[in-house]
Symmetry: C2
DNA sequence: GTCGCTGCAAAGTCTTTGCAGAGAG
DNA sequence: CTCTCTGCAAAGACTTTGCAGCGAC
């Protein structure tokens, strides 16, 4: 293990994402800043859906020298969301979670015990959604679906602890 | 037009709902209060999905003598939600909206221009959802689906104003 | 009567905003 | 150089909580 920083451990996929991001910034005469890239990178590296607060924690741990403020997290997330680079999910009272929206479309299965989010795609459902919107004369921009329940893992644990 | 109060203009459907509610209260040794009934009634009469604030406004207008506090609205909505009598929907930053959950299950189509929510049900989708949960070893408790876009009406208006 | 419920106001959360200095273009 | 972006702290919006008095049972 050498002393490479995280910044050099980039995948091709991430490079493409970053290029898209820089293009977006340029197009809107926004500036490239290290904070903005770190936020993008952290979202990219995380498999999870992150709350602004969780994202802030991760960044403080990984890049403490940046002293990134929570306000910047919020501002950047808004910017990314407005540009359709990230998507947010709202929960009951657990606030809002963000994920990179560059990935292909998918829906969410949310465990009400542990909060874990599993992604899935179902073509039949996608197809029906389009048809329904059409039926109502509705111009669909987006759609989302959530299945709430107890995940496989928590079902096992429940068996042990309950 | 006579001077009947709203309380006497009850439908059979509402009476059943109210009976369910009273039963629920009794079962949990909660007390029946006029505020709680007014909240239930207002939710029942509204075709829309209401924010706690909107609900509060409606109640202040209809029953000013009660001086119902916003805290009571929140407390009662929580109570009703915990008891599965109402369901809440979360939105981007527009907060949370509540609807009576006593009705049969349905999904939502949300206009991003005017915020109007249209309900719909699609059997094919319901069926697929169960199948997907099963596939993942997930014990489904609930599910929700939202289609975001521009409603028929706003599409018309856009044609005129844009 | 008792004990839960209510309104009010104060306290929490979470998110946004104002501002002066730092830094990208 | 200019003008945006940032961190900080203060302000906002929304929701919850503490408390004393009121009211259901």
């Amino acid at each position: 293990m050498n002393s490479q920083t995280d910044f050099t451990q980039r995948t091709v996929e991430y490079e493409i994402l970053l290029a898209r991001f820089k293009e977006l910034l340029k197009k809107n005469t926004y500036k490239y800043t290290i904070q903005r890239e770190v936020i993008l990178e952290t979202l990219y590296k995380s498999d999870e859906h992150l709350t602004p607060e969780a994202l802030h924690q991760l960044i403080k741990e990984k890049f403490p020298e940046l002293k990134t403020g929570i306000a910047t997290i919020y501002r950047t997330l808004s910017l990314l969301e407005d540009s359709d680079m990230v998507t947010s999910l709202s929960f009951g009272s657990q606030g809002k979670k963000y994920e990179l929206g560059a990935k292909e479309h998918h829906d969410h299965m949310i465990c009400t015990k542990c909060g874990t989010i599993t992604e899935f795609v179902d073509e039949a459902i996608e197809e029906r959604q389009h048809r329904i919107a059409e039926e109502f004369g509705f111009e669909m921009q987006d759609h989302s679906m959530q299945i709430y329940g107890i995940c496989k893992n928590c079902k096992k644990l429940r068996f042990i602890y309950d």
